[in-house]
């Protein structure tokens, strides 16, 4: 499963989210490939992924993409991240 983590600049928050998503996926036994992007270029790369994760503030920038977009409130809450991943696991 390919997951894209999106933040404003593609270097700070999205990298932190990537680290936690990889950990959450490992805990759930899911096989994921996580990449990061800034909001500006995310629209172009979103459809090459199965799931896009971002923060509430940036979700509107991704309107129109066909890949599901889920927002994360607390990037440090592993349970919140796992609950999102579980919805897409199969």
């Amino acid at each position: 499963m390919d997951i894209l983590c999106v933040c404003g600049n593609g270097i700070g928050t999205s990298v932190l989210l990537k680290v936690n998503v990889e950990q959450a996926a490992a805990d759930l036994g899911m096989d994921v490939n996580v990449t990061t992007s800034d909001a500006g270029s995310a629209k172009g790369t979103a459809n090459m992924n199965d799931l896009v994760l971002t923060s509430n503030e940036l979700a509107s920038e991704l309107e129109g993409t066909t890949t599901p977009v889920e927002t994360v409130d607390n990037f440090m809450d592993m349970d919140e991240i796992k609950n999102i991943l579980k919805e897409y696991a199969d």
Partner: protein, 148 residues
């Protein structure tokens, strides 16, 4: 293991400081990055502009803001600053305000700071460590908690 002394030297810390508002908090985190030789003053302004342009998305967890901007000439090296506020301030983020810890990030590329970000994520997703970090009194104590 990430080299915390290099990424978070003593000059990167300001513990229990008072600021007026979110701009003051980011200013402080930028000043600490400059003091540690990671950035120039221009980067501090870029971090503030990031929030002005894109909103307070940098408040990524309750009480925690990750102040940063994109790599530019204003970034001299990869490193962090750690600003703990005496009185929390509002950034305008509904889910996670008010902010009591601002981590400033200067990054030249993603790979370079991935290791240190992993260590920080590992500590901040752990409730026990987060509580200890809020109580720690010295940079040495904070680095030890992050490394442990």
């Amino acid at each position: 293991m990430a080299d915390f002394k290099a990424f978070l030297p003593d000059s990167s810390f300001a513990l229990d400081v008072s600021v007026e508002d979110w701009k003051g908090a980011i200013q402080r985190s930028g000043d600490a990055l400059v003091a540690s030789g990671f950035t120039t003053d221009a980067y501090t302004q870029q971090m503030i502009e990031t929030v002005e342009k894109m909103g307070p998305y940098i408040v990524i967890a309750p009480g925690l803001a990750l102040a940063h901007s994109r790599p530019s000439d204003a970034v001299l090296g990869t490193g962090l600053s750690w600003i703990r506020l005496k009185t929390p301030v509002e950034f305008g983020n509904k889910a996670n305000d008010p902010v009591s810890l601002v981590i400033g990030l200067a990054g030249r590329d993603e790979q370079e700071h991935l290791q240190v970000m992993s260590a920080i994520a590992g500590a901040l997703t752990n409730k026990e460590k987060t509580a200890k970090l809020a109580q720690a009194e010295t940079p040495d104590e904070i680095r030890a908690i992050l490394e442990g």
